[in-house]
């Protein structure tokens, strides 16, 4: 709950170190929310009850039937259309903190470098340590510091993407805030949602965080080189993934040793080829 994750309370979103509100001149236009676009396609219409005694005088009920994340969903669809027009393959990489998102992205970009150009948007509550790591590796990167917000939202991605030369990229990787709860609900406009499970975490993580793992298009078991030391029960982890993320492609790899990376890279190249069409 928010007392723990802190989201939605205060905190300033910064993109590349600058306040998000100043980073983009259309922010007020985006922010006005287009309140007239109701789900039903028409204006809100009240259904006043015939039975006047049902409510105190003057009270009316109106059906709204709108998703609480409707605005984010609309902005995510706009991102998706924009990215498709740019023929980009967009990945949203999610996991708990410390599961190896940055290392996997760094190694993936390095291996792809000879064939595909990779850019990265990194989300963290604070610091640009992850961005610095990726930048040192020669990867174009924008850091979004979310303040206290525990997830990235579609609008943050739209603004951050303006700071990358998308025409010079083939693949855009979004490294989400390390969190297995809140980011599950926020579509960013990605093509594929990649959820990581490291061998140093519990095998039952998918069962404990079902919305996140269920939302995955791809599940990647990372740090396979540490599996024996961590006493990782592979069969149990795969069974948990098959139960919750039954539709997801599963990869097992170690970004550090390179074990299992070829299959993952080949998959991304295939996905990029179909994104280009």
């Amino acid at each position: 709950m928010c007392q723990e994750c802190g989201c939605g309370i205060g905190g300033e979103v910064k993109i590349g170190g600058r306040p998000a509100s100043a980073a983009h001149s259309h922010s007020t236009h985006h922010g006005d929310g287009h309140s007239h676009e109701h789900g039903g396609g028409g204006a809100p219409h009240s259904h006043a009850h015939d039975d006047a005694t049902a409510f105190p005088p003057g009270r009316q009920t109106v059906a709204v039937q709108r998703g609480l994340l409707e605005k984010n969903e609309r902005l995510a669809e706009r991102n998706r259309g924009f990215f498709r027009a740019k023929k980009l393959l967009v990945l949203n990489v999610l996991s708990s903190p410390g599961s190896g998102k940055t290392t996997l992205i760094q190694k993936t970009a390095a291996i792809l470098a000879s064939r595909l150009r990779v850019g990265v948007i990194v989300g963290d509550l604070a610091t640009d340590n992850d961005a610095a790591r990726l930048r040192e590796a020669g990867i174009p990167v924008v850091q979004v510091t979310t303040g206290t917000v525990c997830h990235l939202e579609a609008e943050m991605i739209a603004k951050a993407a303006e700071r990358l030369d998308l025409d010079a990229l083939d693949v855009l990787i979004i490294e989400n805030v390390g969190n297995l709860v809140c980011p599950a609900a926020y579509d960013l406009g990605e093509d594929l949602r990649i959820v990581l499970l490291s061998t140093t975490e519990g095998e039952d993580k998918p069962l404990k965080y079902p919305p996140m793992f269920h939302s995955a298009d791809v599940a990647v078991v990372t740090k396979s080189d540490l599996a024996a030391a961590a006493g990782f029960d592979r069969a149990q982890a795969l069974a948990a993934l098959h139960r919750i993320a039954h539709h997801a492609r599963i990869f097992e790899l170690s970004a550090r040793t390179g074990d299992g990376m070829p299959a993952w890279i080949e998959y991304l190249e295939q996905q990029r080829a179909s994104a280009k069409r």
Binding site: C7, G33, T61, V64, G67, L68, V149, H246
Partner: protein, 113 residues
């Protein structure tokens, strides 16, 4: 989850809807929350009073309809209740991952004047 920001969205939408219909105050907010949405109804209730303060929804009552998770069996053409994302059809015992309901987070209706 981010129940405070979800509640903020709900209250903003409720106030917008009331104003669009010529209302000034929101008296009741009805939400629909699915069992698999990851949202905790109690956390929404906890957030509601705080978020409503100082808005036209100040003092509004919150009603939450909790929607159980339901899977679809294509073979039997029935919906059935499921404890998680993978349900077993009670008729043919086939496993289905096609969740029909249970992921909702919606503002269902409001009462205003």
């Amino acid at each position: 989850m981010h129940e405070v920001s979800l509640m903020e969205n709900a209250v903003r939408m409720a106030v917008e809807t009331a104003r669009a219909s010529g209302g000034e105050r929101v008296h009741r907010i009805r939400l629909r929350v699915g069992a698999m949405s990851g949202v905790v109804p109690d956390a929404l209730r906890f957030a509601c009073d705080m978020v409503c303060q100082g808005t036209p929804a100040d003092g509004a009552e919150l009603e939450i309809e909790e929607v159980p998770a339901t899977c679809w069996c294509a073979h039997c053409a029935v919906e059935f209740a499921t404890p998680d994302f993978l349900g077993q059809c009670p008729h043919c015992h086939a496993v289905s991952g096609e969740l029909r309901r249970g992921t909702e987070m919606e503002l269902a209706s409001i009462e205003f004047s």
